[in-house]
């Protein structure tokens, strides 16, 4: 595949899966409707046709079974890439992920590896019904043994998935479903950043915004609006939620003195809480204001007619930026 000018995130993930399957015959795709249909978001479109039913596997509708059998396949030497159809459907598999997948390498004192990648289309903004718009990343980040990543653009979507598949640890790869059809530049011949490295996507000097996945675009928009108001906002795309590249965030905050963390997931016990605590510890004498967080409320994800109010948008993030700058 050649260099693309612009490609959607969905197509970048598809190209990434294709590249991984071509590179390693042990890579398998498993999930509900991933074969003939190409997935409900068409992310796996055409892969079963090209790689066969033996490698692109339509599974029974049972999430624990999907992850549990993926673990068994990994123990046999395969590299299963599992698709959970929607964020809210992962919980039947939560036991297998938390008690088995995350701990097996340690329990075996390193003698077995379970390189299972779990792709989860997550977060809201698509006007969906209940259980189709959630952001459960913190529920997984709390578990040692798992790695959690979330790309925000096509290039990261392409490279980070291949890096996750090539690694020997279980990785949960959260796909920002409302950005599936956003186009951005993908260079398939560039040298990618390390999987767990954060990236400064916009330089600034007054305040740092940290986000990942679907919220990166919101934060970049915020930075543009703030710039018009004479405020210089730096945006850090975290890319990886476990581990978190605190060094990059620290460098930014040491420069700006202010930090606002933005995610769709509820603020309470969210990844923003961890970032706030760590950065306060690391940057205590650099901080000009308390670390603020913008995210979901401590309420079930609302019906779709209310999701624009629930989700952190331009105005709510700008409000937090203003509050931080007011100190």
């Amino acid at each position: 595949m050649a260099v693309h000018e612009k490609i959607t995130i969905a197509k970048a993930i598809n190209a990434s899966l294709r590249a991984s399957m071509e590179a390693d015959p042990k890579v398998l795709i498993m999930g509900e409707d991933v074969g003939k249909l190409g997935g409900v978001f068409r992310v796996t479109d055409g892969l079963q046709k090209d790689f066969g039913e033996d490698r692109v596997i339509d599974t029974p509708l049972a999430e624990s079974g999907i992850v549990g059998t993926a673990i068994g396949l990994a123990l046999r030497g395969y590299r299963p890439v599992v698709e959970i159809q929607f964020d809210g459907f992962v919980f039947p598999a939560y036991d297998q992920i938390v008690t088995q997948l995350a701990k097996m390498h340690a329990r075996a004192l390193g003698k077995v590896k379970v390189p299972v990648v779990i792709r989860i289309p997550y977060a809201g903004g698509i006007g969906a019904v209940e259980h189709h718009s959630e952001s459960p990343e913190a529920l997984f980040a709390h578990v040692a043994g798992l790695k959690i990543v979330s790309p925000s653009n096509s290039s990261d979507a392409y490279w980070m998935l291949q890096q996750a598949i090539a690694g020997d640890d279980p990785v949960i790869y959260f796909e920002p479903k409302r950005r599936y059809h956003d186009k951005s530049r993908l260079d398939t011949e560039s040298i990618p950043d390390p999987l767990h490295k954060a990236r400064v996507t916009r330089a600034g000097s007054d305040l740092t915004l940290v986000a990942y996945g679907p919220m990166v675009k919101v934060c970049e928009d915020v930075a543009k609006v703030a710039a018009e108001e004479g405020k210089s906002v730096e945006v850090v795309d975290l890319r990886s939620i476990s581990p978190i590249d605190f060094d990059t965030v620290q460098s930014s905050v040491e420069k700006t003195g202010r930090l606002v963390v933005v995610h769709e997931a509820p603020v309470f016990f969210g990844s923003g809480a961890e970032i706030a605590a760590r950065i306060t510890e690391r940057c205590f004498y650099h901080l000009e204001a308390p670390v603020l967080r913008v995210g979901g409320f401590h309420a079930p994800y609302p019906p779709s007619r209310l999701e624009d109010e629930y989700l952190p948008g331009l105005d709510r993030v700008l409000d937090a930026v203003d509050r931080a700058l007011a100190y």
Binding site: G65, I71, L75, R107, K111, H196, P243
Partner: protein, 405 residues
């Protein structure tokens, strides 16, 4: 299944060869529906129980499952069961002495485990619960390796791929899915190995077990589900898990299920071998319900006197798996006093070795907490390891300073 029911069954069988059943293949036989049988459920279960050696030690034949073992193989099964029981007893004692934090005894289930374990080929793969000490023995896992997790020095600690014996799994039923996935991999590799998943009557209620039945059936995976129905899931009898005999569950998933006398090592061996052969020849999964009894407590933390009567345990004692094989071997003149004495002596040696190894088992280094959390490393683990090491080292500095005074 009540105690009376099993006692009646024993009498009714009377050790004689059954002649009513038509000769069929195991698969066909096992899938035959018992619905509409005018006899009660006990009668149906009685008809289904595969037995080759009665509790009295009499060899009987079964129309579907046969076995022909050499005297040496028969003696080997006896030796396996005696040594496994001795190891198990030593572990229970070591827990009482405070050397182990917990022990899950297999007492009473030796035939189910040795019979099924000896049916396996080296290239087959085992996914055990936490009570499969007899199967581990058959796989060649050093029994002292099983004790690390019960002492609290690790969570497993043996290399699963050395003996094709996966780590013990404590979350009930989870391993049945791993076994199924592993079997799917065997199938993709085009190998003729088989996989066996152990679980219990309690686990049969778990969703993961149901899902493993579904997946294995849909993909025709080469996996054998070996359910040791030991009648008790801690304090809950099998009646709290199911309204139908567990082996019948298989029918709804589209593969055969069979109930075997779990205290009959010959029947367990014969049935498991047949099931493994089916799996490795592309005929898909099979469920074996080994009807047995947990003679001891669930674990050393349990008190079975709170929930089950002594009479029940006594009734099962009469069906002891080791005793019946010994009676048979003696009646057939396959063992003599010298042989039995030699086994006892070997048991004593094993017991001593287990005690010595456990007592000498060192606590792991503090920093082992951080080992193998990830295969490729993780920045936070590295950071916390360094911080904790520095914290620990600060005591060494303080100690050195104190000594300097």
């Amino acid at each position: 299944m009540t105690v009376e029911g099993t006692a009646e069954r024993k009498t009714a069988r009377g050790g004689s060869k059954r002649t009513t059943a038509k000769k069929t293949t195991p698969a066909k036989k096992a899938t035959q529906s018992k619905a509409g049988n005018s006899a009660g459920p006990d009668q149906a279960e009685q008809d289904q129980l595969v037995q080759l050696l009665t509790p009295e030690g009499t060899r009987v034949e079964h129309p579907d499952y046969t076995i022909d073992l050499s005297p040496e193989e028969l003696r080997g099964l006896y030796r396996d069961m005696v040594l496994t029981r001795r190891f198990d007893a030593e572990a229970t004692t070591l827990q009482r002495q405070g050397e182990l934090g917990l022990w899950a005894s297999l007492l009473g289930q030796e035939a189910a485990q040795i019979g099924s374990g000896r049916a396996l080929r080296d290239d087959d793969y085992v996914f055990p619960t936490y009570r499969e000490h007899g199967v581990a023995w058959c796989r060649g896992v050093d029994p002292t390796n099983l004790l690390g997790m019960f002492r609290g020095v690790n969570h497993g600690g043996w290399d699963p791929n050395s003996n094709n014996f996966h780590l013990y799994t404590i979350v009930i039923g989870s391993q049945t899915l791993h076994a199924t996935g592993y079997a799917m991999g065997v199938q993709k590799d085009g190998a003729d190995s088989a996989v066996i998943a152990y679980f219990g009557d309690g686990a049969s209620s778990q969703g993961d077990v149901a899902e493993s039945f579904t997946f294995s059936a849909v993909y025709n995976a080469p996996v054998v589900f070996f359910c040791q129905n030991n009648q008790w899931a801690i304090s809950e009898p099998t009646e709290k898990q199911t309204r139908v005999p567990l082996y019948q569950r298989a029918q709804g998933y589209g593969f055969p299920g069979v109930r075997v006398d779990g205290n009959d090592v010959l029947a367990c061996l014969a049935v498991t071998k047949a099931a493994l052969d089916r799996a490795r020849t592309g005929q898909g999964p099979m469920l074996i319900e080994a009807f047995t009894y947990r003679m001891g407590a669930h674990t050393t933390s349990d008190d079975p006197t709170r929930y089950r009567p002594d009479e029940e345990t006594l009734a099962w004692e009469a069906k002891d798996p080791i005793l019946r094989l010994r009676k048979y071997l003696e009646a057939e003149g396959l063992v003599d006093d010298a042989y039995l004495a030699a086994i006892d002596e070997e048991s004593d040696v094993l017991g001593k070795r287990v005690r010595d190894v456990v007592r000498a088992m060192p606590d792991p280094d503090h920093l082992a907490i951080f080992e193998n959390v990830y295969a490729d490393g993780h920045a936070l683990v590295d950071e916390e390891r360094a911080q904790f090491a520095a914290y620990q080292a600060s005591f060494a500095d303080a100690d050195a300073a104190a000594e300097g005074n």
